[in-house]
């Protein structure tokens, strides 16, 4: 059996390895049907009257990042190279909080977000693809950006031209890990919240799981917004608000989770502080929705509060390491949320600390947060498994206890408690049954004269004889020192008497081989159809009465 199990696991593992291999092949070796060019050099930039000639995109980025302020208009241009005429030639650029216009030889070929800019509305960011006319080669491309936020373009994608689909695929390839993990985390969070909510009324301990799952759901949404993936799946206004609202919603959820994990330790002050923080977050969202102050300006408040809360989470996590004050399942959930927080810290550090856009840093950002997301999901799933293992362990305990409670220690037959229950349950069905009441003769004498061990042996021999004679019987129990009961669905008097005869025969055989003491049994039986009432207890009493009659007969026989 073990070999079979290993074989199965190996087979299944090979399947998963194939799938992962396939995914890897996809990311690394996606064939590009047509050529694609990154326009990284030869840019002329103009900002606020200053001209920069022949700079590369790195310099473009740093100029915009450092010098372009809200309300400025920056434009940079270059000459388009020849790229062998791909179908649907397009330009791919990344914009952040800006309206843009694209010109080819001073002819407008694409623009967006101007309406929002004019009405001072919130403009998000994303990957934009603008179609080029067929005769683009050698013409001058000019990109004009209307900036709405200081220090935007921390991230800057090198503009690229190529076939429309190749551009899209290139973007997807880079963003594959965040996309997979963001989508997964969203649905995973929703899924687990759903299941936990259904069981919450029965199991209040699932509260922590609900908060963790909700947190994962919102975090997944934030990831989709943060990596600018929402524009591929939904319209722009839907997408950009999702990022900021989800980031802000993370704060109350984290606090809820912490309070619930540590519900024994929080004081009035904790609660008041939490309420203040939650109100601030909700106010910020409100301000954004009412267009009074946009989140891009207030985001630093969120970052500060977020850092404090992340610090709190990590502090709790390390404290619990030492004191082990949380249950295993709670601390698993805390692990998950801590890992997510650590990845967020990385992101914040990258945002504030770095001054130049390094491709390596961008890569780290692309990998760390998704991996943290997977680990968090793994924590929630293993929390589930932990519960199951505990449940199994509990089950084992119950089985052994039940055996103890319902079995007679000496003979391993059922004991009185079980017999009482069984007899009571007989009334539920309509079938006929027989109850046999058996009483060992002379047990007390054996105990008194030969000691308890002899008495125990007598009882065990008898139980064995019973089990051997009544082989297909439904239920056998020892309900007293020397009292036994058998319940069977056989209602043929001859068969019952045959069985009883067999038992007596066995005892006689034992008597002949071992003369230490004399074994005999008094027995009486009754069937359900003999009693008018449905009361199974009455059947037992009738059997008992007949057993006494038998006992007296034996008594008379022995002494006459």
């Amino acid at each position: 059996m073990k070999g079979r199990v290993t074989l199965l696991i190996l087979l299944i593992s090979s399947f998963f390895i194939t799938i992962t291999f396939g995914l890897l092949v996809w990311t690394i070796n996606s064939p590009q049907l047509f050529s694609l060019a990154f326009l990284s050099d030869g840019w002329n930039l103009e900002l606020n009257g200053e001209q920069y000639n022949n700079i590369n995109t790195d310099k473009v980025r740093s100029i915009i990042f450092n010098k372009a302020k809200k309300g400025d208009v920056v434009s940079f241009s270059t000459v388009l190279p020849d790229i062998d005429n791909p179908p649907f030639p397009s330009l791919g650029i990344y914009t952040s909080n800006s309206a843009y216009s694209i010109f080819l030889d001073n002819q407008l070929i694409g623009s967006d977000f101007h309406k929002l800019y004019d009405s001072n509305d919130f403009i998000g960011g994303g990957y934009n693809f603008i179609m080029l006319p067929d005769d683009y080669v050698g013409k001058t491309l000019k990109i004009k950006l209307w900036i709405t936020v200081d220090y935007s373009y921390h991230n800057f994608l090198i503009p690229m031209i190529g076939s429309y689909h190749d551009l899209r695929f290139a973007v997807f390839r880079v963003l594959m890990l965040p996309m997979l993990s963001g989508i997964f985390l969203c649905l995973f969070g929703g899924f687990f919240t759903f299941v936990s909510l259904i069981f919450f009324p029965i199991l209040p301990t699932l509260k922590n799981q609900i908060y963790s799952s909700l947190f994962s759901l919102v975090f997944g949404l934030w990831m989709l917004g943060h990596f600018r993936l929402t524009s591929f799946f939904a319209n722009a206004s839907f997408g950009t608000s999702v990022e900021y609202s989800s980031l802000i919603l993370l704060i109350p959820l984290a606090l809820l989770l912490l309070c619930s994990l540590y519900k024994n330790k929080i004081t009035k002050y904790h609660i008041i502080a939490s309420i203040i923080v939650i109100s601030i977050s909700l106010t910020l969202i409100l301000l954004h929705v009412l267009k009074i102050i946009f989140m891009t300006s207030t985001i630093f408040i969120v970052h500060i509060i977020g850092s404090i809360i992340i610090g709190l989470i990590l502090y709790c996590r390390f404290k619990t390491f030492k004191t082990h004050s949380l249950s295993k399942s709670d601390s698993t959930l805390l692990n998950g949320i801590s890992i997510l927080s650590i990845s967020l810290i990385f992101d914040e550090i990258l945002y504030y600390a770095s001054n130049s856009f390094d491709s390596i840093e961008g890569l780290i950002d692309l990998i760390i947060i998704p991996i943290a997301a997977f680990i968090n999901a793994a924590c929630i799933i293993s929390n589930y498994y932990l519960y199951v293992t505990e449940a199994l362990a509990q089950q084992q305990e119950v089985v052994s206890l039940a055996h103890l409670a319902y079995a007679d220690g000496l003979t391993n037959l059922a004991n009185r408690s079980k017999a009482d229950k069984y007899i009571a349950s007989l009334e539920k069905s309509n079938e006929d049954y027989t109850i046999i009441s058996l009483d060992l003769n002379g047990l007390k004498t054996v105990n008194d004269e030969l000691g308890h061990s002899a008495g125990d042996q007598y009882i065990r021999e008898f139980a064995l004889a019973l089990m051997e004679s009544f082989q297909e019987i439904q239920f056998t129990a020892r309900i007293g020192g020397d009292e036994f009961v058998i319940i069977s669905n056989i209602t043929d008097i001859d068969i019952i008497q045959n069985y009883l005869y067999k038992v007596r025969q066995k005892l006689e055989l034992l008597n002949q081989s071992d003369t230490k003491y004399y074994r005999s049994v008094a027995a009486g039986f009754a069937m359900r159809h003999e009693i008018n009432s449905n009361n199974s207890r009455d059947v037992y009493l009738l059997a008992d009465k007949r057993m006494y009659i038998d006992k007296q007969k034996i008594h008379e026989k022995m002494f006459h």
């Binding site: 899209r168 649905l187 199951v388 119950v398 220690g409």
Partner: protein, 575 residues
């Protein structure tokens, strides 16, 4: 009690309401209002086509949604042509999907696009692919002619939708139309992988249960299959061929997963035959893979065989599942089983498998009906039932694990009840033999002085024989009540057998014990004075532990002996 019940009901309502929000959110996300608004209009060109099969006469004004192609054989050439609109939007394109055909596209007899020829040359079957035909200004008003050359017998029975519009709009639309399936597919894949990794980690502690492995296998294959079937990969990357192969691979793996899952301990019926089925499926998968990759026969030839096989297997699987559920329900009502073990988790698992298998049967039937018997052909099929079924199944797996949690809470309650039962004598409420032996065992090993009193009820048998068991029981209970009131904590009073009692005292203050025994005798005398019918009489013996080499058994035997001495005295005095 009433308010508690009310609270729970309120909780149930609130929670179900909240829980229902989540699928609603999912559905809302799928609504078309969320889609990116197209910059220009997208038109589906269904009507007004001219269709020509091989050399037959062209049929005018065909609606390619129901072309009535009949069966197509390898080498058949299907040509459809249409007029390009007179006024073209910027960046316009004509987009359609092709599968298992090589395609040539002509605009006014100029070849503008071809696809699949290199696959055909390599003896590979052209994969599923979206063809985008760029339209420039001078194409306006001209005729576009699309020529499909079928590569496999019976493979093609219809045409996909043909879209006209701005290429960005169309690409966005195609991706977002399938957004829900993409999300669910990705979720199922990653969830399956995570579950697989964790199953390995928890293998030992989960009692070597291998069903989580199979459920992760099902989850991943389902997710992969959904993504491949909806050609979602076509919108994200260029590896069409890889993913077409993956589609077949995962499809053939799904039955293996389901049957493996059913076998690994959850069903109570029909295991042997299932083993045979799994081996068959496994062999099928291996042979088709080898045949496909060695170039002999492509996967798609085996689809019909697979469908028939799956239908038969599914019907059998449903039969087994229903039998198992009924078996479980029956067992829990039968008289002789341990009824504190709820079979709900298993039943829910089986329910999930049942739902999924039913959905698959429905889908397989629908696919084949549409493909072979409907005018529109296989391009217009949809497998949303499998997506839903897959989600149901994974939900049921999780619900069943949660039900195990419920079992846990139940068993906690039952455990405390049972502990009471396990260690208490039901008639008298005193500790029973097991408990007393447990205590004696622990006392042997401890460095404590203790005393044991062995008490035996006299004439119990006579009382039972003369007056019946009920009176006998009262006799026993009377003594035990007296013992209870005399010997209080920390002493333990127990009933070792029918008429045998024991008192274990974790100290050995002889004077104190003597006093207690005297008080016990006094109680007996008082009782006998007030109840002349039955004379309560018992014998007892005391023994004390004096040094630590003595085990509790030794002390008990000493007490027993002393008790017999007193009993002999009673006998003699009676006679």
């Amino acid at each position: 009690m009433q308010t508690k019940k009310l609270n729970v009901t309120k909780k149930y309502i609130i929670c179900f309401f909240l829980a229902a929000l989540i699928p609603l959110l999912l559905l809302a996300f799928n609504a078309s209002v969320v889609n990116t608004k197209p910059q220009y209009e997208i038109t589906v060109l269904d009507t007004g086509w001219t269709l020509q099969k091989n050399e037959a006469n062209p049929i005018m004004n065909v609606n390619i949604a129901s072309p009535n192609l009949g069966t197509t054989l390898s080498g058949d050439v299907l040509t459809i042509s249409h007029k390009i609109p007179d006024f073209l939007v910027p960046g316009s394109a004509i987009v359609f999907r092709t599968a298992m055909c090589t395609v040539n596209v002509y605009i006014e007899d100029n070849l503008v696009e071809s696809f699949g020829q290199d696959y055909d040359r390599d003896k590979k079957i052209p994969p599923k692919h979206f063809v985008y035909i760029p339209l420039s200004k001078n194409h306006a008003g001209k005729t576009i002619r699309i020529e499909f050359t079928v590569v496999e017998d019976y493979a093609v029975t219809g045409f996909s939708k043909v879209y006209y519009g701005n290429v960005e709009d169309i690409s966005s639309f195609l991706l977002q139309e399938k957004r829900m399936h993409m999300f669910i597919g990705i979720f199922l894949i990653v969830f399956g992988i995570e579950q697989f990794v964790l199953s390995i980690k928890f293998f030992k502690s989960l009692d070597q249960d291998i069903s989580p492995f199979f459920s992760s296998l099902i989850s991943t294959s389902l997710g992969c299959y959904i993504l491949c079937y909806y050609s979602i990969f076509c919108h994200i990357c260029n590896n069409d061929y890889l993913f077409t192969l993956l589609e077949y691979l995962t499809l053939f793996t799904i039955p293996i997963g389901i049957f493996g899952f059913m076998i690994s301990g959850h069903i109570s019926y029909g295991k042997k035959f299932l083993n045979i089925l799994i081996t068959c499926n496994l062999l099928f998968l291996l042979t088709t893979t080898i045949l496909n990759f060695s170039g002999i026969m492509h996967y798609c030839h085996f689809i019909t065989l697979m469908h028939i096989g799956s239908l038969i297997e599914s019907i059998y699987a449903i039969y087994i599942l229903i039998r198992s559920i009924l078996n479980n329900i029956q067992n829990s009502h039968s008289l002789n089983v341990e009824y504190y073990e709820s079979t709900a988790p298993t039943n829910v698992l089986l329910l999930g498998a049942f739902l999924f298998v039913s959905c698959s049967i429905f889908e397989i039937a629908k696919y084949d009906m549409l493909k072979f018997f409907s005018p529109s052909g296989e391009f217009r099929t949809d497998i949303s039932f499998i997506t839903m079924g897959a989600l149901f199944f994974v939900i049921c797996v999780n619900i069943s694990y949660s039900l195990s949690l419920v079992n846990k809470v139940n068993s906690k309650n039952i455990k405390s009840q049972l502990e009471g039962i396990a260690y208490t004598d039901p008639l008298t409420g005193l500790a029973n033999r097991s408990r007393c032996e447990q205590i004696l065992e622990s006392l042997t090993n401890s460095k404590n002085y203790f005393a044991i009193i062995s008490i035996d009820l006299d004439h119990l048998k006579a009382v039972n024989d003369t007056f019946g068991h009920t009176v006998g029981d009262t006799y026993i209970i009377t003594l035990s009540n007296m013992l209870k009131s005399t010997f209080e904590e920390p002493s333990v009073t127990g009933r070792m057998g029918g008429d045998e009692f024991i008192v274990i005292m974790p100290y050995s203050n002889r004077q104190h014990i003597k006093t207690l025994l005297a008080s016990l005798s006094q109680k007996k005398d008082d009782y006998n004075a007030n109840n002349p019918d039955i004379k309560l009489s018992f014998s007892y013996g005391v023994a004390y532990r004096t040094n630590f080499t003595q085990s509790s058994k030794d002390i008990y035997n000493m007490a027993d002996n002393n008790m017999y001495k007193m009993k002999a005295l009673h006998h003699n005095s009676n006679n």
